[in-house]
């Protein structure tokens, strides 16, 4: 049974701020009519269980997901995408309990791949990681509001972030159709071309990568690898999953230069390996604990990713000078692994796989 409040229309916003229901920005008042429209569009009922976080005895039900989606500003058409994101986030491998609590301050990074990017009007092109698009902004925000309001991840409660970052308000990457010869992320993960998938990553903020003058594919990839090898990044040398948003000029240079996505991943996995001396030049000491046992391999280096498949290449962004972005996981894979769900068609209920 969902609790409700009846109050003067003009008082609703202040009441929601007062109760700590928002992320600090105004929200849309979640009226029963707006919430029901969300549920109806997706074909779910209020009590459907999207997922659970057993460590804190919390269950995310469809009505709570819908209420938070309304508050975030979502249109009903976006709600199946929100449900897929939440279902992925609540898979045990993702480790939501830790992700939304850690001092590291992880974003709940949503990556949307497939036909719904265009059909629902996500922005995958100019300013793809920036503001100005309702779908991008509100779907990511809905996921964060669920973490705050349902899982209890608030600054005065179970969110222990030391700093956090702006991506914790909302963070969504919509995939632009990749160049010829490159598969979309969802297809690489085993789904069909006509499927739209949502992948969830627990991440730091995006680190912008600039390479404006070098059109040589290998030169571009060495710049990517340099970004991945930065000693100041927590996961360097520890084995994590990385998202690389491959910008317009860079993806064209790579694809037209004959580089396949597997070849790019292989190159980056190898060239982002670091020596203890590289880390020492940045003042970083090796961690030797059960969770992060930083023992160099036979080549004297430590893997920043555990293998090429841990590098997820997502194409987005418009023509410019030559920009991409490196989005490292907030922690190594021992803590959290990305999870993916296919978006269910409208009226078809919860996303099942």
């Amino acid at each position: 049974m969902t609790g409700s409040l009846s109050l003067e229309h003009g008082d609703a916003m202040e009441e929601m701020f007062e109760r700590g229901w928002t992320d600090g920005l105004p929200v849309v008042p979640p009226t029963p009519e707006l919430v029901q429209a969300m549920l109806d569009h997706a074909g779910v009922v209020a009590t459907d269980v999207v997922g659970t976080v057993p460590e804190r005895s919390r269950t995310v039900t469809a009505d709570k997901a819908a209420i938070n989606a309304v508050m975030a500003g979502c249109r009903p058409e976006y709600f199946p995408v929100v449900l897929a994101a939440l279902a992925a986030m609540l898979e045990p491998v993702f480790g939501a309990h830790t992700v939304v609590t850690s001092t590291g301050g992880a974003a709940l990074c949503v990556v949307v791949s497939g036909p719904l990017v265009d059909e629902l009007g996500f922005n995958s092109y100019r300013n793809a990681l920036g503001p100005g698009n309702r779908a991008n902004a509100t779907v990511g925000r809905a996921v964060r509001l669920v973490a705050m309001n349902v899982l209890g991840a608030r600054s005065d409660s179970l969110d222990g972030s030391s700093l956090g970052h702006p991506g914790k308000f909302t963070m969504l990457v919509a995939e632009e159709a990749p160049p010829e010869g490159w598969d979309p992320l969802g297809v690489e993960l085993g789904y069909e071309l006509e499927d739209t998938t949502v992948s969830m990553f627990a991440t730091e903020s995006p680190h912008q990568i600039a390479n404006h003058l070098n059109g040589d594919p290998e030169g571009i990839l060495l710049t990517f690898a340099a970004a991945m090898s930065n000693p100041a990044t927590y996961c360097v040398g520890k084995g994590h999953e990385a998202v690389i948003v491959v910008g317009y000029e860079h993806r064209r240079a790579l694809a037209e230069g004959g580089w396949t996505k597997p070849q790019v991943r292989e190159f980056l996995a190898e060239h982002s390996r670091v020596t203890p001396e590289q880390l020492a030049t940045g003042g970083v000491l090796l961690e030797n604990t059960k969770q992060n046992d930083m023992i160099p391999g036979p080549d004297g280096k430590l893997g920043t990713v555990t293998g090429p498949d841990d590098i997820h290449l997502v194409t987005a962004g418009s023509p410019g000078a030559g920009w991409s972005a490196y989005i490292p996981a907030w922690a190594p894979k021992v803590h959290s692994v990305s999870a993916t769900r296919k978006v269910a068609a409208p009226g078809n209920g919860l996303p099942l796989n």
Partner: protein
Amino acid sequence: MSLITILSPEFEADAPELVPMAARTVPTDPVTITIIDNAKPKAKELLGYIAEGLRDRLPVADVVVHSKSAAGKPIDADVAEMLAARSHLVISGLGD
């Protein structure tokens, strides 16, 4: 002025049944202390230091260390039961 009804976005559940705290007693027989090393840097050392400090206050027979694979991973229920069965006192919980 018009009234508006809004729904709560928060998790709602019946209040859990209250469980009384275990009796606070000072043991006289030798006790086993288990430390749960949560795999954070220096966790084992710090918790071990606390356990050793308890030797001045309790008749400590043994200090056992259980190391988790990662800080964010919960202990399985059967492991928790095993730790409870073999220990008189368990020290867990450590942030950065």
